[in-house]
Symmetry: C2
Subunit: 232 residues, 2 copies
């Protein structure tokens, strides 16, 4: 391989944590066993890209993802007959994104990777969200990088570049790790190394990327496999 990276930068939603199952579980606990939690999770997530796009396009100033998640929640609740939720209930429900649960192999793989590399999330999630999620899953980060420090959203180049600069590293010493080819393509355009993690079931059975659709430096079956590839 090329000069090995000094830092690994992680996409989080879908790559490290299973947002769909976590949100579906929470929604069912809240609305009853018959509630279609998966459809609700899919609907909430479907609002994610359009909400960020207005900011990426410069049609809205930067606001943290917590704000977008809350606006998106207000938008979808009526579709599921749940517009009766109070302000306090909505604010509390919105924090479900702070409590997403990691894919099973992730915590141990991160601990292994931390023996050799600097680790940080490079997520569109804001710092407070990432701090809570780290506590929920016992992730140990060296720093929380991503949208909140760049004040813009991936895959805009400034987000990758601000993260490398914060670590004091040139992009070629940083590796972006993600389950999404568009994220890796963005990172590669800014000069970062790239590693793809297969998450074939991210959006439901068979609805996720089993393999990258762009050239990458590493393609791994899961994060434990990436740790094997990088540490052996």
């Amino acid at each position: 391989m090329k000069t090995p990276p000094a830092a690994l930068l992680f996409d989080v939603f879908g790559t490290l944590v299973d947002f769909r199952s976590s949100i579906a579980l929470d929604a069912r606990a809240r609305f009853g066993a018959g509630f279609d939690g998966e459809a609700f999770a899919d609907a909430w997530r479907a609002e994610y890209q359009p909400a960020m796009q207005r900011i990426r396009d410069g049609n809205r100033g930067y606001v943290p993802l917590d704000v977008l998640h809350r606006e998106n929640l207000d938008r979808i609740l009526p579709r599921f007959g749940k517009d009766g939720l109070s302000e306090a209930e909505r604010a509390e429900f919105n924090l479900v994104w702070h409590r997403l649960t990691a894919w099973p192999e992730v915590p141990a793989a991160l601990r292994r990777l931390r023996t050799k590399f600097r680790l940080a999330p490079l997520s569109n999630g804001n710092i407070a969200l990432m701090v809570d999620m780290a506590q929920h899953n016992d992730f140990r980060w060296d720093a929380i990088l991503g949208a909140d420090i760049a004040r813009d959203y991936k895959p805009k180049p400034v987000v990758y570049e601000a993260a490398c600069a914060a670590f004091g590293l040139p992009p070629e010493r940083c590796m972006m790790v993600a389950a999404h080819s568009d994220d890796l393509a963005g990172a590669a355009k800014s000069g970062l190394m790239t590693a793809h993690i297969a998450r074939p079931d991210e959006h439901g059975p068979g609805k996720g990327e089993a393999a990258p659709s762009v050239p990458v430096d590493f393609a791994a079956r899961d994060l434990a496999h990436l740790a094997e590839l990088l540490l052996s």
Copy 2:
């Protein structure tokens, strides 16, 4: 006490780490046992506030503290007859700020405080510097906040306010911990709670703040004492 804080935000240079002894030791190792390492540390640190002041005043765009430290090093080396250092030697020497050693009670006290509070440095040091220093001293932070995320220097209000916002907390749920009254006065003006740590020998024997000169919520003998005050 008032509502207890949810997060503690730490000044670092002088409050958590003994920069003067660390730099003096490194300088003596580099230049010989007869070299006045303490005078060198004092001279380097004396350039710190004026360098930041130009940025606070808007007379220069934000650059990270690593850049200011390097400029200040170039300024003082000739005064100590050391202008023969190469570019590579200067770049390497400048990283001494990344390897400063904690005051003795700090690592254990931080581990105790982390059982109850979110912890982050709120330093004028940049993220890369804080990451290296955390690794050197085994500090475990929830996030790295401070100048680099605000793109300005303490005691400007934006630096305190950006840190609280990053944690998703109102200022009154955050407590600034510092050995410097001007830092605590700045934090209090933005609505944060404040805790003073006595460091009577920060700038040499008897040359440091043994007590705060401004009103604070807590005044502690050292960080272990603050942990007792907050956790009992």
